[in-house]
């Protein structure tokens, strides 16, 4: 039995499942928990690959993923959300579970076909299309959600897709590149938190509330 292939597939399915959960979840707190879980799954996969390959780079990457994406960034986001008043931190009416869940499935299938038509020949590894699908799911979150914090989570999902692709294609990108990506993510999160903090004037991270101020 090819245990390594099975573990990669199982974790890949788990990552895809968390992507669907993120799309279908209306509340911000569980969305943050969801991206933390997705990052932990990714860190687990990286640790498994590091063990299998005997690679120190991948082991470090797994540790960074666990610390930054699995723990630090979710902590910062959770801390941020507490500053918003109850019941105004998310606008539930803007999120339709059925629509978003079905859109997530449609986008996944569409992204898979696009990958097959364009990149599949260059990246024949099993599961390579999953990274592309995850990227599309992150983009969908950015495009369809109106909450700043959820949009940050969408961006994190895109970055998870890049790390997953790196782990799958090249047995891990050079550590330097990965560190730069993580700093990039950390920077975006910090900027987003500052932007969100400015919105405490209206007490909500929802973009739609800002529209009410338009002259």
């Amino acid at each position: 039995m090819d245990l390594s292939g099975d573990v990669t597939a199982l974790v890949g399915a788990g990552i895809l499942l968390t992507a669907l959960y993120l799309q279908a979840e209306s509340f911000v707190n569980p969305v943050i928990d969801g991206i933390a879980l997705q990052s932990l799954l990714l860190a687990g996969l990286l640790a498994w690959l590091a063990y299998r390959e005997g690679s120190l780079d991948l082991a470090l990457l797994a540790a960074i993923t666990l610390a930054v994406r699995g723990l630090l960034i979710p902590y910062v986001l959770r801390h941020q959300i507490r500053s918003y008043r109850w019941r105004v931190r998310e606008r539930l009416a803007a999120h339709r579970v059925t629509g978003h869940a079905l859109a997530a499935v449609a986008v996944a299938i569409g992204a898979w076909f696009i990958f097959q038509e364009t990149l599949a020949a260059a990246f024949p590894q099993p599961g390579a299309g999953l990274a592309f699908v995850l990227l599309a799911e992150g983009l969908l979150m950015l495009a369809t959600r109106t909450n700043t914090l959820v949009q940050v989570v969408g961006y994190l999902e895109e970055e998870n897709a890049i790390v997953y692709a790196g782990a799958l294609f090249a047995k891990g990108l050079p550590l330097f590149v990965e560190v730069v990506v993580f700093l990039d993510v950390l920077g975006v999160v910090l900027v987003s938190v500052i932007l969100s903090a400015q919105r405490t004037v209206i007490g909500s991270p929802e973009e739609t509330h800002l529209e009410e101020l338009a002259g």
Binding site: L10, L16, V97, T98, A101, A108, P126
Partner: protein, 318 residues
């Protein structure tokens, strides 16, 4: 034809017929415990049946044969399903090849549709409300069922439930494969919706949804007994399929003898009681969703089913 196989066939149908009220009784008792009530005896459904079978049957003015006949058709259909799906054997019985998963699904659909006709023919607004609501949500549940069948076909290359049972029981890798885990989760959500469990429906003391209960408003006496019995048989069969094909395909006493089949009745009962216990705990932790949110619940179930097939395509593993 092997006479012992015919005996097992009859035994299987009798198991569904006679034990389905018991499982409903155990579920009601378990639910009462979680609500700090003593609850009715686990044999209460049998007493209810006896009471209803003795009572006078009334028919609304203007109702036709459609008010009566569909319940008998549904009763017969569930008995037919009972001899073609794996209930107390892991090997196909003489009529096992008569229908695969899709055929079984169509038979469930037939029973559900004729029951709706019986409700509509009553002329009651409440029964019609229950029927229309049931159809509204069934429209979202059916696609999930179809995709679940696709996923099963992906796993074992056929839609025969007996093949799936034996394949999953014999291969841990296939059992733990993402496609199987996801399709099991999708089927569980569907099971909750189809059997009227929380968070979709709360039948009994806190009837709110008017889905299952609403349809039987105008039926009384023997017809109501048949209505209830049909519901319990449907629940028993769906539990049996979920347990024997998806969740717990192990534990069958090997052999094709009548004695082995009798022993398997005990095994099935133990599995069903464990499942009922799990569902009771699940119900104790969940609140009922609002009526229009049931669509969201079923959409997630559908998404999981599609994802199970998608995972196979993307990752290349069952």
């Amino acid at each position: 034809m092997d006479p012992s196989a015919q005996i097992v066939n009859v035994l299987q149908a009798a198991t569904v017929l006679l034990l389905s009220p018991l499982i409903a009784g155990i579920a009601a008792r378990g639910k009462a415990w979680t609500e700090s009530r003593r609850g009715p005896s686990i044999f209460q459904p049998y007493r209810d049946l006896r009471k209803l079978l003795r009572k006078e049957t009334l028919r609304p003015i203007g109702s036709s044969i459609v008010f009566v006949l569909p319940l008998f058709v549904a009763f017969g259909t569930y008995l037919v399903i009972a001899i073609i799906v794996p209930v107390i054997t892991a090997y196909p019985l003489p009529y096992g090849s008569a229908a695969d998963f899709l055929g079984g699904g169509l038979l469930f659909g037939l029973a559900g549709t004729v029951t709706l006709l019986a409700a509509l023919d009553s002329g009651s607004n409440y029964a019609a409300l229950g029927a229309s609501r049931t159809v509204s949500f069934a429209a979202f549940a059916e696609p999930t069922l179809i995709v679940v069948f696709f996923a099963v076909a992906v796993i074992d290359g056929t839609n025969n439930p007996y093949v799936t049972t034996n394949l999953l029981a014999g291969s841990t890798a296939t059992y733990l494969a993402p496609t199987h885990l996801l399709v099991t989760a999708a089927f569980l959500l569907l099971l909750l919706a189809e059997t009227g469990k929380l968070p979709v429906e709360s039948a009994g003391l806190m009837e709110l949804g008017m889905l299952e209960e609403g349809r039987a408003f105008e039926h009384s006496g023997r017809l109501l007994a048949l209505f209830r019995w049909n519901g319990w048989m449907k629940q028993f069969l769906l539990y049996a399929v979920f347990l024997n094909v998806f969740l717990l395909p192990w534990g069958f006493v090997p052999g094709s003898t009548v004695l082995a089949a009798v022993a398997n009745i005990g095994v099935l009962l133990a599995k069903q009681v464990a499942l009922v216990g799990g569902l009771v705990l699940l119900e104790a932790t969940l609140a009922k969703v609002r009526l229009f949110k049931i669509r969201d619940f079923l959409a997630v179930s559908f998404s999981l089913a599609v994802l199970s097939v998608f995972v196979f395509v993307v990752l290349g593993v069952p």
